[in-house]
Symmetry: C2
Subunit: 557 residues, 2 copies
């Protein structure tokens, strides 16, 4: 079987200017990066913003992820291709892949099979350099903070209370926790520190939520770097770092345009983690897409309990967006895994395991309905799925009044997602969407958290330690009470326990810690153990990656 990279390479790509022209972006607004990648000039983006009208926004989300893979990105691409094949002008809006995980186990994040964005290896590695710019901006702020300590600490920053960490786009567990500034008075100020992977940086979240450059710089300035002994915050603006950070991000802030293997336009821009941050592509790209296309298809990270909830509560609110429909992706294999089947046994029909896994899908479907969205289930078909298994999923969904559409875009490209595209078009045309967040901005922070836990996770209780409650109360006093809450928890379960599969009820959500992302504009509630710097596995994928005799990249999956 051909690898994704082989399939992508065998497909001739069109000049990016041709893709852009069909999407309504004139040549003069393109900043080319090679022949098949381009940034869209911010002047054009601004002018497009000012236009009236706009397309329909479709969110692609999924069940809780399993080791089997569900194909959320692949479905987002396949649906976009199929819409275009039907004559509906569609724009695909994705997150940029993180470089680090490419060298671990995960591989690329550009779809797969016949539903890919290209050039695959360039998008997965450095792409147009956006994440490097974000890393630089993050680390400039860290360097300026430590430099401020070194030169006398006029702002009175407490070295023990600096919460701003450094960032690197690499899976490097040895940088999680460190003591820096060693070597004597000329070498710095010793203190505890650590690195997060770039996608977990608040700069990434800000980059994705900012409406324009002025908003970007204002948000950067609001970043809290640490606190004084008296508990008052010191911001990036106090350190005069916000201007240089914005300058570092300026070029990156223009959205990136590429194409799918079938020639659909795709804006790939920004890519925050969906656990510690909100996990959606940039507001700038999504809003541009809506001005250009009839339908924008976008995805949110992890399962609908994390990614979609944050998309709907954080991104949509920040960007003034109202989705027209929601697609929840599942596979028979992943549902069986979720129902307790062994990974090695997935090719065998197992209606019992499937029946135990389906409630996970059903609850995500139900949850999306609570936001006022029409829901369609995309069932990515594998060769091993039996008719009885497929029928079981369809019937369960029919009982919820939801259609489960079989998809084969991985193998067949657009042709494999035409039914899904028709269902999506029908949902948009019906105009039944009544998007509404589950909590108002004015609700106290702890109650926002309780609302999410009750309505989405179906937890019986939220455990908020007194110290956490006190922090939340202080932030409300300081004027941060209207911010949304961004839950950081495991992606594998509705609960904070990764082993609790299916559709658990009555569980307890333990809030370990809260952090204020004043620049991004949300309060992070950390529930359970959350990793902000991944490690490499025993046999990293990097060992297989290299160049062939023609200088082409091999071994990247």
């Amino acid at each position: 079987m051909a690898t994704d990279l082989e399939i992508a390479r065998a497909t001739p790509l069109r000049p990016i200017a041709e893709i852009a022209a069909r999407a309504g972006i004139p040549d003069a607004a393109l900043i080319p990066y090679g022949r098949h990648k381009a940034k869209v000039d911010l002047d054009f983006v601004r002018a497009a913003e000012a236009r009236a009208g706009g397309g329909a926004l479709v969110l692609v989300t999924g069940i809780n992820p399993t080791a089997a893979g569900e194909g959320k990105t692949t479905t987002t691409i396949g649906l976009g291709d199929a819409l275009n094949a039907l004559g509906t002008r569609a724009m695909i809006c994705l997150r940029e892949p993180s470089l680090g995980p490419c060298f671990g186990t995960k591989g690329g994040a550009t779809g797969g099979g016949r539903a890919q964005v290209a050039p695959m290896e360039e998008i997965n590695l450095h792409f147009t350099g956006d994440f490097h710019a974000i890393t630089s901006a993050n680390n400039l702020l860290a360097a300026m903070a430590d430099n401020h300590l070194y030169w006398g600490n006029g702002l009175g920053l407490d070295p023990r209370r600096i919460t701003w960490r450094r960032a690197m786009d690499m899976n490097d567990r040895n940088l999680r926790s460190m003591v820096v500034g060693l070597g004597g008075a000329a070498q710095g100020v010793p203190r505890e520190d650590g690195f997060d992977i770039t996608v977990a940086s608040e700069v990434m979240a800000i980059f994705c939520l900012a409406r324009d450059l002025a908003d970007l710089q204002a948000r950067l300035g609001r970043i809290i770097v640490g606190h004084r002994r008296d508990g008052t915050p010191v911001t990036a603006r106090d350190l005069k770092a916000d201007g240089a950070m914005a300058a570092l991000l300026r070029d990156a802030f223009a959205p990136n345009l590429v194409q799918t293997l079938e020639g659909s336009p795709a804006l790939i821009h920004g890519g925050p983690f969906a656990n510690i941050a909100h996990g959606c592509n940039s507001v700038v790209a999504t809003r541009l897409g809506l001005r250009l296309a009839e339908v924008v298809v976008t995805e949110a990270g992890f399962g609908a309990d994390l990614g979609a909830e944050k998309f709907l509560h954080i991104k949509c609110r920040a960007a003034g967006l109202a989705p027209a429909a929601c697609v929840v992706v599942a596979t028979v294999r992943a549902l069986k895994l979720n129902g307790g089947a062994a990974k090695a046994e997935l090719a065998r029909e197992d209606l019992a395991a499937l029946a135990r896994g389906i409630p996970n899908l059903a609850r995500h479907v139900e949850n999306m309905g609570k936001f006022g969205l029409p829901v369609i289930v995309a069932l990515n078909r594998f060769a091993s799925d039996t008719e009885a298994e497929i029928a079981a999923v369809r019937e369960a969904m029919a009982r919820l009044g939801v259609e489960a559409v079989l998809c084969t875009h991985w193998a067949d490209g657009a042709a494999g997602a035409l039914d899904l595209a028709r269902a999506v078009n029908a949902a948009i045309a019906a105009g039944t969407a009544r998007y509404a967040p589950l909590y108002p901005e004015a609700m106290p922070l702890a109650d926002k958290l309780r609302t999410i836990a009750r309505e989405i996770y179906r937890a019986a209780e939220v455990q908020i330690p007194p110290a956490v409650a006190a922090r939340l109360a202080r932030w409300e006093e300081q004027g941060f009470g209207r911010l949304p809450v961004c839950v950081a928890k495991t992606q594998y379960s509705f609960s904070a326990d990764p082993a609790l599969l299916g559709a658990p009820e009555g569980h307890v959500l333990p809030v370990r810690e809260v952090r204020l992302s004043a620049g991004a504009g949300f309060v992070v509630a950390i529930c359970g153990d959350i990793m902000t710097m991944p490690g490499l596995p025993k046999r990293p994928a990097a060992e297989q990656i290299g160049l062939d005799a023609e200088g082409r990249i091999v071994g990247l999956f």
Copy 2:
């Protein structure tokens, strides 16, 4: 007075394809990065390599740098522009600026006044992402080494003997020395570590010395990451990191083409430090330039004692290059500073200080002659220079049989360097260059060091501690004896003491430490204190950098 950024912005740039076409690079060989930057496809580079013939190589170097600035990059650009104005097809080959120092005091590295390469702010910030790729490759190797320790350390690497450091393109003194891997068994392996600025990384030196992608990967594989308890080395190849590192560097390895404000083509590619590394732009770019142009003008870092010596002993030998002429840049102001004048007094005529400073220039001129190169002195004129001062420099040079040519390209562009260009053309046409290194490859490592110290620095003695001598002997046994020596010492003096200005004699060169850069292919001899990670000043330039209302970068100098 207009700033460099204002001058650059006021000058309309031509499409990069037009610059490329005039330089002999067809459109099909261009990989655009925006409208005014492009990479030259490596297939075209390979085909050009195979052609016969080639232009003349001219090295621009300088006196020992002072706080006054001498204008080496500016002269390289002005000379290239003037050659083109005279009808000699010239290519300018420069190093890429490092991002970190832009936020400190140094500012950009794209020339100045009317002798600049553009777009200035893009080249100075992320440019085409090459340094980010180098940072990533450096840090992937570090992550894989620590990951190897974490998973059982099958190669037996001694955690106390890991010499491979991490890299960041940032002035961040707090990362010079640290303890990483803290937090318990699941978080890594505690050990001492530190970050160097990216330009000081061996990956940068390898990038600049590699002939092609295969050579690049082979050199990366030879990098020594650390040693076992028994003293045997562990390489990047042993860790299977070389392939993925090469994949990360592949796109970056294609040379970058930009233009000067007067429309001359310039290849800007690679940029290693001239103290810890060899300080020259990439071999790939220089060799491409020589295939395309009649004259290639290139520069080497710092003064001729450091940059030019390494250019001639390391780069020329590795790349099979033989320069046709050498330009040594000086200013009356810098010579007066070198002669002990106070910085605030430089505008006043001071023939005594000048007379004390001129021997510094004279010795560099003499040294370049030892390599068999015809030498021309470029005297960058300032408004405050008096006729008597200029005459003093000219007469001193005339006594050495060398012409000192007055230049005003900073103010006047090409027109200000026509005399210099004519002198260079005459030197090339005379064909008197007989390039020869000062030591043969077969000479023992310690003797190579003694040769440089005697012939270039005019030291009376080289102090080599017994432990250093033993290491050199061991490397010779291991087959590294034929490598050149790369001296790391202060750039401010011929000696290892930055306060010893002028043309000192009889001093002692103390070798503190030696390091084997097996991938880059040289032995670094560290003499005195050498900084591989700079810090930020009390008032970093970053505080002034920002975006204006139109989203343009301001405050970058």
